[in-house]
């Protein structure tokens, strides 16, 4: 069974219906919203699989179905749906992970009184993301993009009673809004330059070859091609959503939401949106700019930011003590890898890594959720420890996810997708720095994950929660096992010598090469992974932590480095001191002007008027008053009589007006209105 493009709207519509149902159900309802959300996700998953099957019939075909949203004068604004293998794979990914996370949440939030509300938000989140995936219009994509932002705000701030959660939700919303401003400008510019917000429209769409040729040959005054400028603006939006440096600061704070939300945000629904956008508009980003006099390509910017983010995220993950924050910075780093892949021209490798990463990062986050639930909300890895024996399933699946994230060779999916990215970066002709950053990131990834696993699962329990932990219920273990299978197995879809996934995504031929060509690189990265694991074991494995208050081994070796990393390189403080301070300064200047300059002028005018008034009064009282007193007395009497009608009640006045209106209406009818 396949799903045609004209019915594609059904995919986001089912979770959307579930979310409406969940949000309008009575506040205390539990079972019905949960059942609705699960049902919606299952239906969406089925529809997504059907859509993917339809897209895979001929991967090179982009099926579109457009409709007019509204017509205004001669302008018609059209929106539409687009079905290609990219959208198909992403839909299946989002619905599958959304379903697993929802199942996990039924157990994780079993004691929360607002669990019904939670499932409503969750469905909205998934629905918005699905809408973003299947649309053929940049405008509709932007609308869904903002809905994703809204849903993430609601979910990160789900426990809004906690000030930290409310602040984190606001931070996520505002930080991504900065990026969205770039996106919006790019969107309007693109529409103005091409006259269409559709991606593919039989040659007239914004991503069709004739339009691209026009865009890339139109030059701005500085010598840039218009397509470069628009591409960079769209990338600003993607950077905000996907947590790229320097807009990455919201992502670690988003940990304040419930853990399943973190899993969803970090795997499928939120941060994937930026990478997806870049993959979707890749033809625009990569448009040939032979005419531009400034030799700067939009993709170069993407690659540089991606490389910086990949390295920065990995470095910062080293010194975090919150189990979820380690994983959050790891996500930042992995998203950097994806952007790096897009920047060096291989969006297919980026999407491949996006898919494998979604599964193993969802696995890691849900595993962390399982640990947190079992230890009564203990997230500090200094007070965990020794859980390997007590939580066997969680440990086994978490270890598999760790292997995939590190990129342990040949078995794990993360290895193959990371290999694809590194291979693409190696062949990039502009610069070798992103490639080098990628290799360093591999060492750091292995290092911080080794530290995380050793601290959480080995040694002896260093806190009350960890000492009495028991394995989580079956509804939590089930999704973990499914995700673990995917984290291992998915890599086999895109082997270098059998690139099934790549060929389908590309919609054409993908260079098949034997394992021999990239073998040298594989050996190098395997050695780097082992180096990272070895270093992790050297610091955290030889002598296991026994006391929660003991200094971090890395802090003993290099106190200054550790302090800088634990302080997250003081980037948040830097932003507060620069951007935050600047706005506060602006506000103070405005307040000063208001109070002293404008306020002073008003004050002076007031004083003048008062003086004039005093003079007037003197003339009045002493000169004119006596003669008028008599008249006034009479007027006062009649005034008092009229004042009785002046009740001050607006409705009684209105009643009189209404009666008058009715009388006028009757008179007009009497006269016969034609």
């Amino acid at each position: 069974m396949t799903l045609s493009a004209s019915l594609l709207w059904l995919i986001p519509a089912t979770p959307l219906a579930a979310s409406v149902f969940g949000l309008f159900a009575p506040r205390t309802a539990r079972t019905l919203p949960i059942a609705g959300a699960l049902l919606g996700l299952v239906a969406a998953l089925g529809l997504s699989v059907a859509a993917l099957a339809g897209a895979l019939v001929d991967p090179a075909v982009r099926a579109t179905s457009d409709f007019a949203w509204f017509t205004f004068g001669a302008q018609t604004l059209r929106l539409g749906w687009l079905l290609d293998p990219l959208a198909g794979f992403m839909c299946v990914l989002v619905t599958l992970i959304g379903l697993l996370v929802a199942l996990f949440s039924t157990a994780y939030l079993r004691h929360d009184p607002r669990i019904g509300r939670f499932f409503g938000f969750l469905s909205l989140f998934v629905a918005a993301m699905l809408g973003l995936l299947v649309t053929n219009s940049l405008l509709l994509l932007f609308i869904c993009w903002e809905l994703v932002g809204l849903a993430s705000y609601l979910l990160i701030g789900f426990w809004y009673e906690r000030p930290a959660a409310a602040a984190a939700a606001k931070k996520a919303f505002i930080t991504t809004r900065i990026g969205d401003l770039g996106f919006l400008i790019g969107l309007v510019w693109l529409h103005q330059a091409t006259g269409s917000a559709l991606f593919h429209d039989g040659g007239a769409g914004a991503l069709d070859a004739p339009t691209l040729a026009r865009l890339s040959s139109t030059l701005l005054p500085g010598g840039w091609a218009v397509s470069t400028a628009i591409g960079l603006l769209l990338f600003v939006g993607a950077a905000g959503k996907s947590g790229q440096f320097p807009l990455h600061v919201w992502l670690p704070d988003a940990m304040e939401g419930p853990t399943p939300v973190s899993a969803l945000i970090h795997a499928a629904t939120m941060v994937a949106a930026g990478v997806f956008l870049m993959a979707r508009v890749f033809p625009l980003m990569a448009a040939d700019q032979g005419l531009a006099t400034v030799p700067f390509h939009a993709l170069t910017g993407v690659a540089v930011i991606g490389a910086v983010t990949a390295l920065l995220g990995a470095v910062l993950a080293v010194a975090q003590n919150d189990i979820k924050r380690v994983l959050a910075y790891s996500t930042v780093s992995q998203l950097g890898y994806m952007m790096l892949a897009i920047g060096v021209g291989s969006w297919v490798a980026a999407v491949f890594h996006l898919i494998t990463h979604a599964f193993f990062k969802a696995l890691l986050f849900l595993g962390a959720g399982s640990v947190i639930d079992a230890t009564h909300h203990e997230q500090d890895l200094r007070r965990l420890g020794g859980l390997a024996g007590r939580m066997r399933v969680t440990f086994a699946t978490f270890a598999l996810g760790t292997g995939a994230l590190m990129g342990l060779p040949f078995v794990f999916s993360g290895f193959w997708s990371k290999e694809a990215i590194l291979h693409a970066a190696e062949g990039w002709t502009v610069s070798h720095l992103p490639f080098a950053a990628g290799l360093v990131g591999v060492v750091l990834t292995a290092f911080y994950m080794t530290r995380l696993v050793l601290e959480v699962f080995f040694g002896k329990a260093r806190g009350e929660g960890a000492a009495h932990a028991e394995e989580s219920p079956g509804l939590m273990r089930g999704p973990l096992v499914v995700l673990a299978v995917a984290a291992v197995g998915l890599g086999w879809l895109g082997l270098p010598n059998w690139p099934w996934l790549q060929t389908r995504l590309q919609g054409g031929d993908w260079p098949v090469h034997g394992l021999g060509e990239g073998f040298g690189l594989m050996v190098v990265s395997t050695a780097l992974v082992l180096l990272g694991i070895g270093a992790g074991w050297w610091w955290y494995g030889r002598v296991k932590r026994t006391d929660a208050r003991a200094l971090d081994p890395l802090a003993r070796s290099w106190p200054a480095v550790h302090a800088a990393l634990a302080g997250r390189l003081w980037l948040d403080e830097l932003y507060a001191a620069t951007v935050g301070r600047a706005f506060a300064m602006l506000a103070r200047v405005a307040a000063f002007f208001d109070r002293w300059v404008w306020g002073g002028a008003v004050e002076a005018a007031g004083r003048t008027a008062e003086t004039v008034g005093q003079v007037n009064r003197a003339v009045d009282e002493d000169g004119l008053n006596a003669g008028f007193d008599n008249t006034s007395e009479h007027l006062r009497g009649s005034g008092r009589r009229y004042a009785k009608a002046q009740t001050g009640d607006a409705q009684s006045y209105l009643r009189v007006v209404a009666i008058g209106l009715a009388v006028v209406g009757v008179l007009l009818l009497w006269g016969g209105v034609r």
Binding site: F72, G73, A650, Q651, A658
Partner: protein, 102 residues
């Protein structure tokens, strides 16, 4: 009856409901709600005459767009007033707002 008549009938009904709400409800918010209903009745008239009238230009639609924008602003101001009233008098009954000072 032609569609135009039906539209006008509907807008008349809307207008009357809104008017009734404005005249008899005690809560300021519900009175605001009534005002919105009346505005929308007027909008409906515009649209109806634009759609079924002699035609020729888009004045009716543009007028309605402006009217919606103004209505949105009006609702914002009105609700702000209600909040101010509530702060001041601890009630939002219109009867309480019968003095210009205080």
């Amino acid at each position: 009856m032609s569609p135009l008549h039906l539209c006008l009938l509907l807008s008349t009904v809307l207008f009357c409901i809104g008017l009734a709400a404005v005249l008899v409800r005690t809560s300021a918010i519900l009175v605001l709600l009534g005002v919105e209903l009346m505005l929308n009745a007027a909008n409906l008239n515009f649209i109806a005459f634009w759609r079924y009238g002699p035609g020729g230009d888009d004045t009716g639609v543009i007028f309605v767009l402006f009217s919606i924008a103004v209505a949105a602003a009006e609702a914002a101001v009105g609700l702000a007033l209600v909040i101010a009233l509530h702060r001041h008098r601890r009630t939002i009954a219109l009867k309480a707002a019968n003095q210009l000072r205080g």
